[in-house]
C-alpha cells in the first residue's frame, strides 16, 4: 500500500531542504534522506560538507576502482575528498561540532516536539541495543538543526508532537522541519507552517500533526 499519493517524495523533500543552505555554509548531513540533499544544492553555491569521522570537503562516491576503505563517511560508506579537503582526528572533528563552527546539520527524526525537542536515536525498547553515535553532539553544537522526515510514521502516527515520548537526543534544538506535506518552523509559539507541498491544504497537515500548527 502506497499512502504517499500527495505531497513531496523523498527526493523533493531533500531538494526543498537544499534551497535553504546558503553559499559558503559548512554542512553536516545525517544518514538517510538527508544524504540526498547534496544533489540539490542550487547551482552557483559552494558548500563544504563535514563528516564527523574526520573529513571536511567530502565529495561523491568514488568511481569503480578508486575506492579506498580508509576514506569513508559517518555512515561508513565509501566517499571521496574534494580538492581543498582536510582530514583531522575525532577530537578536532567534534570541536568543529561542539564549538559551533558547523553552520547547518540536516538530520532524520523519529519525533520532533513543538518546543524543538528531538528524538532520533532510540525507541526506548529495553530489548534494543542502544546506539547514539554523534547525534547528541551534533544537536548540542551545530548552529542550525534542520530535520527531514515523513510527516507521520508508517502506522499514521504523527511525528510532530506536543511532547516526545521516545528518549530525547536534544532539548529545544530543532529549527525547521521538511516533511512530505509541508515545511514547518519551530517558534517560541510552537509549530508554524512555512510552506505547503503542492496539492496539500492546511487542514490536511493539521489533522496529521500531533498538536497545534500555526498558520503561515
Amino acid at each position: 500500500m502506497n499512502e504517499q499519493v500527495i505531497g513531496w517524495n523523498r527526493e523533493q523533500m531533500a531538494e526543498r531542504a537544499a534551497q535553504d543552505i546558503p553559499n559558503g555554509a559548512y554542512v553536516n548531513l545525517g544518514i538517510g534522506i538527508p544524504e540526498k540533499v547534496v544533489r540539490y544544492v542550487p547551482e552557483g553555491r559552494e558548500v563544504i560538507y563535514h563528516t564527523e569521522n574526520g573529513l571536511l570537503g567530502m565529495g561523491d562516491a568514488p568511481e569503480p576502482g578508486k575506492e579506498d576503505p580508509e576514506l569513508i563517511n559517518a555512515g561508513k560508506k565509501l566517499v571521496t575528498a574534494i580538492p581543498g579537503a582536510a582530514y583531522f582526528h575525532h577530537a578536532d572533528s567534534f570541536s568543529m561540532i561542539r564549538g559551533n563552527h558547523i553552520d547547518i546539520c540536516v538530520l532524520g527524526a523519529m519525533q520532533v516536539a513543538e518546543n524543538g525537542d528531538l528524538a532520533n536515536w532510540s525507541t526506548g525498547n529495553p530489548d534494543a541495543i542502544p546506539a547514539v553515535g554523534g547525534a547528541m553532539d551534533l544537536v548540542a553544537g551545530v548552529k542550525t538543526i534542520n530535520v527531514i522526515t515523513q510527516h507521520c510514521t508508517r502506522n499514521g502516527e504523527p511525528k510532530l508532537v506536543s511532547k516526545c515520548t521516545f528518549p530525547l537526543t536534544g532539548v529545544g534544538v530543532v529549527s525547521r522541519i521538511y516533511t512530505d506535506l509541508a515545511v514547518v518552523d519551530v517558534t517560541p509559539d510552537g509549530f508554524k507552517l512555512v510552506e505547503l507541498a503542492p496539492g496539500v491544504d492546511f487542514d490536511y497537515v493539521q489533522e496529521r500533526t500531533g498538536c497545534t500548527l500555526n498558520a503561515a
Partner: protein, 236 residues
C-alpha cells in the same frame, strides 16, 4: 639510540595483562589495527575493557576479540553496524557490559585523558537519558554535563608511516581516534604500513609526535576487514 621498533605483532602485545583497559583505534574498519587485535586474541588476555567507537564486524578483528570472550566491557558510541552480530548476542545474554557514550564526548574524554584533564563540561546529552546521574552545572545560562577523562593501559592503533622516533602520519579518514588514543594510552602500540628513519617525515606534517608512541611494528600489507567479512572469515 632510541628504537621503538618491535619485531612482531605478538611481541608488541605480549605485556597486556588480564583486566587491562585497551583503546583500539578505528571507525568501522578505517584505522582498525586488525593484525594487533588478532595478536591480542592469540596472546589470550581477558576481562579487558575496550574503548572503540563500534564493536566490530563479522567474526574478525574487534568482533573476534569480543566473540572469544576476552572483553568484559565495551565503551563505545555505536555498538550496532550492518555486520555486527557478535556484540548484540552477548549483550542480550548479559555477558558483556556496555558504557554508551556520545561520539564527540567519547573523543573528548580520550583527548582530555591524554592531556591530563580529569574532567570537563559539555552540552552534549543534556536532558537525555545519557545524562542521567551525571552532575549538571549551569555556566553562563546554559546547562552542561560533567564528563570524565579516559585513559588506557594500552592503546593499539594503525598508521600509514612511522619513523624511528615514533612520529606518525595517517591515511585519510583512518586517522579518526588514533592520535588521541596515542595520547591517552600509558603504552601506545602502533602498527605501521611503512617504517622510515628519523628525518624522513617532514616535521611540518607529523600528526602524532613520537612522545605519544612506545612501540612500532611494521605490517606492510594489512588485511582489510570488509574483505574478510565478505569472505565470511572467522578468527582465529
Amino acid at each position: 639510540m632510541i628504537n621503538k621498533q618491535v619485531n612482531s605483532v605478538h611481541d608488541a602485545v605480549a605485556n597486556i595483562l588480564d583486566g587491562a583497559t585497551v583503546m583500539i583505534g578505528g571507525f568501522g574498519e578505517a584505522g582498525s589495527p586488525i593484525e594487533l587485535i588478532h595478536a591480542l586474541i592469540d596472546h589470550g588476555a581477558k576481562d579487558l575493557t575496550v574503548v572503540n567507537n563500534n564493536t566490530g564486524s563479522g567474526h574478525v578483528g574487534l568482533a573476534a576479540l569480543i566473540e572469544n570472550k576476552r572483553v568484559a566491557k565495551m565503551i563505545c558510541s555505536f555498538p550496532r553496524t550492518a555486520n555486527s552480530t557478535v556484540f548484540p548476542e552477548l549483550y542480550k545474554k548479559g555477558e558483556i557490559e556496555l558504557e554508551l557514550v556520545p561520539q564527540g564526548t567519547l573523543a573528548e574524554r580520550i583527548r582530555a585523558g591524554g592531556a591530563g584533564v580529569p574532567a570537563f563540561y559539555t552540552a552534549t546529552s543534556v536532558g537525555t537519558p545519557l545524562a542521567e546521574g551525571k552532575e549538571v552545572r549551569n555556566i553562563n545560562g546554559r546547562d552542561y554535563v560533567l564528563e570524565y577523562g579516559l585513559t588506557a593501559d594500552f592503546s593499539l592503533i594503525k598508521c600509514l608511516k612511522a619513523d624511528r622516533y615514533g612520529n606518525l602520519i595517517y591515511n585519510k579518514t583512518a586517522r579518526n581516534f588514533a592520535p588521541i588514543m596515542a595520547m591517552a594510552g600509558k603504552t601506545t602500540i602502533v602498527q605501521t604500513r611503512e617504517y622510515v628513519d628519523a628525518g624522513e617525515i617532514d616535521p611540518e606534517i607529523v600528526v602524532t609526535p613520537g612522545i605519544f608512541v612506545d612501540q612500532v611494528v611494521t605490517v606492510a600489507n594489512p588485511l582489510h576487514e570488509s574483505e574478510l567479512v565478505a569472505a565470511e572469515e572467522v578468527y582465529p
